[in-house]
């Protein structure tokens, strides 16, 4: 029976999967893209642009390594600037992927199934972009191993385990590894599907290798389901810990505007907020371009917009509390920091982020807005900008005008800062385009479990 039948009109929802699909059509729709011989022109065009940006990344990194970090605008007192802003921004983006694949799995949110695969891909590529910054901001990445990993240097000295910066290394490298493992494990049965449908021998071999010889036996599936549930259970505390530890980089210090107890929850919410905006940025064009509207429905878009709104409100609460704490603390440095953020040399960045993250997101209350993919696409891009500015405000305004006016300075990024940041988009987009073309972008077997064909009637 249609579960909507007794609900008033207003509560009726678009189904998770539009009617008309069965096992065969789901397999066909999704598997057709990696198996086809065609390379769509739009895809090739975008790939060329992405590769151009990717090349720029290589150039910027090459110049950085040959010259040193003097090419950045980073100065005294702004000793942390673009690299950490971009690192936090990218790592935050990744959080939505893990939220969709792990937390929503534990909450049995079935709508997550159509978007989990490519949201996880987004996570992995975003973490890869993020990882470039801590490694290369050292200027000598080949020595970064001594400084980042638990390995003694030539004097026998170890990294400082009491420092959040080293906690961050553990958190982020675990996060990257577990995300890749979770993503790959989720793909094994679908690789088997591609192997079985491949028309050429080479494709069957390659997908067969990645499928590890998956047969879908009852024993396989049982272990598989147990492993997926465990991985989801492990990823959930992991993802919450990652941005918590990232926020410790700031909160454990004594800089005004950083030394704040609200940072961990506020950073985690901000990460999910920016991440869902990025999922929308990617999902809206992808479903249109590949004709996936029946699998990634308006219900998905609507739900993602709602999560963006909810986490956006938490972020707004975070901004309010930051300002309140600064005033209520009675500490002159804290009060000055807040006043300086609002009316000082970087006031434009503060008010732009407030306009986006507090004012603009309120439009997501309106169903009309949530149903308009065009508006949502623009808003999701702006949210990306807003969240980048948030990190800029936190990092730069706190450092540029700290305790002693004689040490104040103005920070402005150089062209190399911009090129490195833009270059990471090249890495991200190139990886994402290759993913769309060669890997099933939606989990084939998971979507099938949503169909009546996949349901087993209870027997007594």
């Amino acid at each position: 029976m249609d579960p909507n039948i007794h609900k008033p009109m207003a509560l009726q929802q678009t189904p998770v999967i539009l009617p008309g699909h069965d096992f065969e059509t789901v397999t066909e729709t999704i598997a057709e893209i990696p198996l086809s011989k065609r390379f769509p022109l739009g895809w090739i065009g975008l790939l060329i642009v992405s590769l151009g940006l990717f090349g720029m990344l290589h150039m910027a990194l090459g110049v950085l390594v040959m010259t040193g970090i003097g090419i950045f605008g980073t100065n005294q007192p702004v000793g942390w600037a673009f690299p950490i802003i971009n690192f936090v921004w990218w790592i935050g983006i990744g959080h939505a992927g893990t939220l969709i694949s792990a937390i929503l799995l534990l909450f049995k949110q079935q709508w997550r199934m159509s978007i989990s695969r490519f949201a996880e891909a987004m996570t992995i590529f975003a973490v890869a972009c993020a990882a470039i910054f801590p490694v290369f901001h050292t200027g000598r990445p080949w020595l970064a191993a001594y400084w980042l990993f638990p390995y003694p240097n030539a004097m026998g000295l170890w990294p400082q385990f009491k420092s959040p910066l080293i906690w961050d290394v553990f958190a982020v490298s675990t996060y990257a590894t577990v995300s890749i493992v979770f993503w790959y494990v989720g793909m094994i049965p679908d690789m088997g599907t591609l192997r079985d449908r491949a028309t050429s021998k080479i494709k069957a071999r390659i997908y067969g290798m990645f499928s590890l010889g998956w047969r879908g036996s009852a024993r396989h599936w049982h272990r598989y389901e147990v492993a997926s549930l465990i991985l989801a259970g492990l990823s959930t505390p992991l993802v919450l810990s990652v941005h918590t530890v990232v926020s410790f980089d700031f909160a454990v210090s004594v800089i005004p505007g950083w030394h704040s107890t609200i940072f961990p929850p506020y950073f985690v919410a901000g990460a999910i907020y920016a991440g869902f905006a990025m999922v929308l940025t990617l999902a809206i064009p992808v479903r249109r371009f590949y004709g996936m509207e029946s699998l990634i429905t308006m219900r998905h878009i609507d739900n993602m917009a709602k999560i963006t709104l909810a986490t956006g409100l938490i972020v707004g609460y975070g901004y309010t509390m930051e300002a309140f704490f600064a005033w209520y603390s009675g500490n002159p440095n804290e009060r000055f920091m807040m006043w300086n953020r609002m009316f000082g040399q970087y006031a434009w960045s503060y008010w732009t982020l407030i306009a986006i993250n507090i004012v603009m997101v309120q439009f997501l209350w309106l169903k009309k807005v949530r149903q308009s993919t065009g508006l949502l696409f623009v808003m999701s891009l702006l949210i990306g900008v807003g969240m980048w500015l948030e990190r800029f405000v936190i990092v730069v305004t706190s450092l540029a005008n700290d305790f002693v006016p004689s040490s104040w300075a103005h920070y402005s990024p150089t062209r190399w800062d911009y090129m490195l940041y833009a270059g990471t988009f090249g890495l991200f987009l190139t990886a994402f385009l290759l993913f769309l073309r060669f890997v099933p972008m939606i989990s084939i077997f998971e979507v099938k479990t949503l169909l009546p064909q996949g349901k087993i009637e209870a027997k007594h």
């Binding site: 553990f170 590890l212 009852a218 024993r219 396989h220 049982h222 147990v226």
Partner: protein, 181 residues
């Protein structure tokens, strides 16, 4: 069709094809009730009941993961304790060398890392993967097992294997095929 004396190649088993998961679950119940023991089902989607019906045993994976996680925690803590207390004790503002609270985060992360790797590798290894060859792939129709068909195999090592083909025909199979070894 039934395997006949002129079949020269050894048989892995006989395979029955079904259109829906319900038919397969039904047939699996009958097969087990009939006293067959070497049985395996192959499906395009996970069907929780099948493992309970056919294998009746749950996997040891959760226990392995717990062990992996605890090993990770011990490794993380031991690494930091050893480096900060034994190998290179360094006095930072008079704080104790073994300030265990600051060791929590890396220990926690390694707990998750080891547990997750155990879950993934354990699942793969316990399932006997990677396995480049398996006899079921010799049946052409089996390529649909990853798309939209459901299969049940009675293996030739089953003591009652002689009755298998006839039985599967009676159990509502859409087709019954010999699986060459």
């Amino acid at each position: 069709m039934a395997h006949t004396p002129e079949t020269s190649r050894a048989l892995h088993g006989v395979m029955a094809e079904f259109d829906t998961g319900n038919d397969l679950v039904e047939a699996a119940r009958k097969t087990m009730a009939q006293g067959f023991t070497k049985v395996e089902a192959y499906t395009p989607v996970p069907i929780e009941e099948l493992n309970d019906i056919i294998h009746k045993k749950r996997t040891v994976l959760p226990k392995l993961v717990l062990t992996g996680g605890l090993t990770g925690m011990a490794t993380g803590f031991a690494l930091q304790y050893w480096a900060s207390v034994i190998e290179y004790p360094m006095n930072v503002g008079g704080r104790p060398f073994a300030s265990w609270t600051t060791f929590i985060v890396p220990s926690y992360e390694l707990t998750i890392l080891f547990a997750a790797l155990t879950a993934a590798i354990g699942m793969i290894v316990l399932s006997g993967l990677p396995q480049p060859y398996h006899p079921v792939f010799n049946v052409d129709r089996f390529s649909l097992a990853s798309s939209d068909k459901f299969f049940l195999v009675i293996e030739s090592t089953d003591p009652k294997f002689g009755d298998a083909t006839a039985f599967l025909h009676g159990a509502g199979a859409k087709g019954v095929y010999d699986v060459a070894e």
